[in-house]
């Protein structure tokens, strides 16, 4: 059986990709950003997933204003990096997992989520920047297969946070009904607070971002009730991208272990947020009840230790 083992939240700022591709990672400005992903790369190498479902949004690359799908699932065998005006990013072609993608499409549509199936699609920085941050700069091939899920967050209204969260649950159900043993991780990308349009451009709201990360970890249902206008008001017009993180969160257990968090301001116009949440491995059913209390305490202290090491807030 395929299984979702962890969720990753990550910003997908285009300038991060440009800094990676143009060898600027050692410049102090960028070092501060990339430093926050060093341990994540180690975590990812150790976790070694077979498939990553990456929830992201297209930025006028694959989709113009001719067709604006709310949820578009990439079911192709491969997805070339898009030319966003400076030539495609020099990263390997992204290999899909058409069999699992088709299975997910069929399952979630019957679960009443009306996805658009996309069999040909280029993918832009929204998808490739988080990949570079978590898998490192790759020359020949990415280490796992990828299923892109493009969400409309460009034209208002995007899907609601609640809808995103419930889609995450439907995706999990789909993955867990796939017969092959596959280790799957799911990415929620975009955000955190930023506004890049109009006279209010440059808006950052670190307090709001940090509360979002706290709730994402421990109280995601609270986030599902945030209306769009609040995202736009508090986290910037483009900060509404953060609803995509709720798809990732919905695909995880209600209780997760936060194994890593990083936050820094700014990268270009944006607050960079990053989190790794793991589903806890369930003990055998007979001992579960007794073990919960102990495990909870151990997990909490482990979590605190992780925080001390890992939480780097800028």
């Amino acid at each position: 059986m395929a299984k979702i083992i962890a969720g990753i939240g990550s910003s997908h700022v285009p300038a991060i990709g440009a800094a990676l591709d143009n060898g600027k990672t050692e410049e102090p400005y960028w070092k501060r950003v990339f430093f926050g992903f060093e341990r994540s790369k180690e975590w990812m190498a150790k976790t070694s997933p077979d498939v990553a479902i990456i929830v992201y949004n297209d930025h006028a690359s694959a989709f113009s204003v001719e067709i604006i799908p709310t949820f578009a699932l990439g079911c192709a065998a491969e997805f070339p990096p898009a030319d966003e005006g400076w030539g495609p990013r020099p990263v390997p072609v992204i290999k899909g997992h058409p069999e699992l993608a088709a299975h997910i499409a069929q399952s979630v549509i019957l679960d009443e989520f009306d996805l658009t199936v996309v069999n040909k699609m280029e993918v832009d920085h929204g998808l490739t920047v988080p990949m570079s941050l978590l898998f490192g700069q790759r020359k020949d091939a990415w280490p796992c297969r990828v299923i892109p899920l493009a969400v409309n967050v460009v034209m208002y209204p995007p899907p609601t946070g609640h809808r995103c969260y419930m889609l995450g649950k439907a995706i999990r159900k789909a993955v867990e009904s796939y017969p092959e043993d596959l280790k799957v991780v799911i990415f929620g990308t975009g955000g955190l607070s930023h506004q890049i349009s109009g006279p209010r451009a440059g808006l950052i709201n670190s307090r709001w971002d940090k509360a979002f990360l706290d709730n994402l970890s421990r109280n995601p249902k609270k986030l599902t009730r945030i209306p769009h206008v609040e995202y736009m008001r508090e986290a910037g017009a483009e900060g509404i991208e953060m609803v995509m993180w709720l798809i990732m969160r919905g695909a995880l257990d209600d209780k997760v272990e936060e194994v890593y968090r990083f936050y820094t301001v700014p990268a270009s116009n944006t607050a960079v947020g990053h989190i790794i949440l793991e589903n806890q491995r369930k003990p055998p059913a007979t001992t579960r009840k007794a073990a919960v209390g102990k495990r909870g305490a151990a997990s909490r202290s482990r979590q605190a230790a992780h925080r001390a090491d890992h939480r780097i807030t800028g």
Binding site: M155, G198, A201, G202, A237, P266
Partner: protein, 154 residues
């Protein structure tokens, strides 16, 4: 038909790209999208007004494009991910566009971002912003209040 008023219209300095603006700005955004092709960039640069005839634009939209009035383009239905392609065609960085839209110099804008960005306090709503501007003008009764500018972090 006048634009239907929306709750988010109260957010200052923000033109939300909603379904209504998407309909209205289709021509602007399709024009910007066309600039992804080198041949189109060349044709546009050779004769801007002539090139714009290929798209369904109102007079106001055409003027905003020719004048590179980026805020006006957003107001008339342009979307930032699309209008940024026009900026790139002109050889400008995104930061340059952000500075233009916010009415500041590129250096000031860059400094503001490095200092943590534009604060949300005083920028949540138009009424909130007015309140904050009034409070400021009371506090600094002797110095002239900058009521026109969007609040910035000190």
């Amino acid at each position: 038909m006048p634009r239907t008023s929306q709750e988010y219209d109260d957010i200052p300095g923000t033109f939300v790209f909603d379904a209504e603006r998407s309909r209205q700005g289709y021509g602007i955004n399709m024009f910007c999208m066309s600039l992804m092709k080198e041949e189109n960039r060349k044709a546009f640069k050779a004769n801007e007004a002539e090139y714009l005839k290929r798209f369904a634009l109102t007079g106001e939209q055409r003027d905003a494009i020719l004048k590179r009035d980026y805020n006006r383009m957003l107001e008339l239905g342009g979307n930032i991910y699309f209008t940024a392609k026009l900026g790139a065609t002109d050889g400008h960085s995104f930061q340059h566009l952000a500075a233009v839209m916010t009415g500041s110099s590129q250096q000031d804008y860059a400094d503001m971002m490095l200092a943590g960005g534009r604060p949300v306090e005083g920028n949540r709503s138009k009424s909130d912003k007015d309140k904050s501007a009034r409070a400021k003008s009371r506090a600094k009764a002797k110095s002239p209040a900058k009521s026109k500018s969007i609040a910035r972090r000190k």
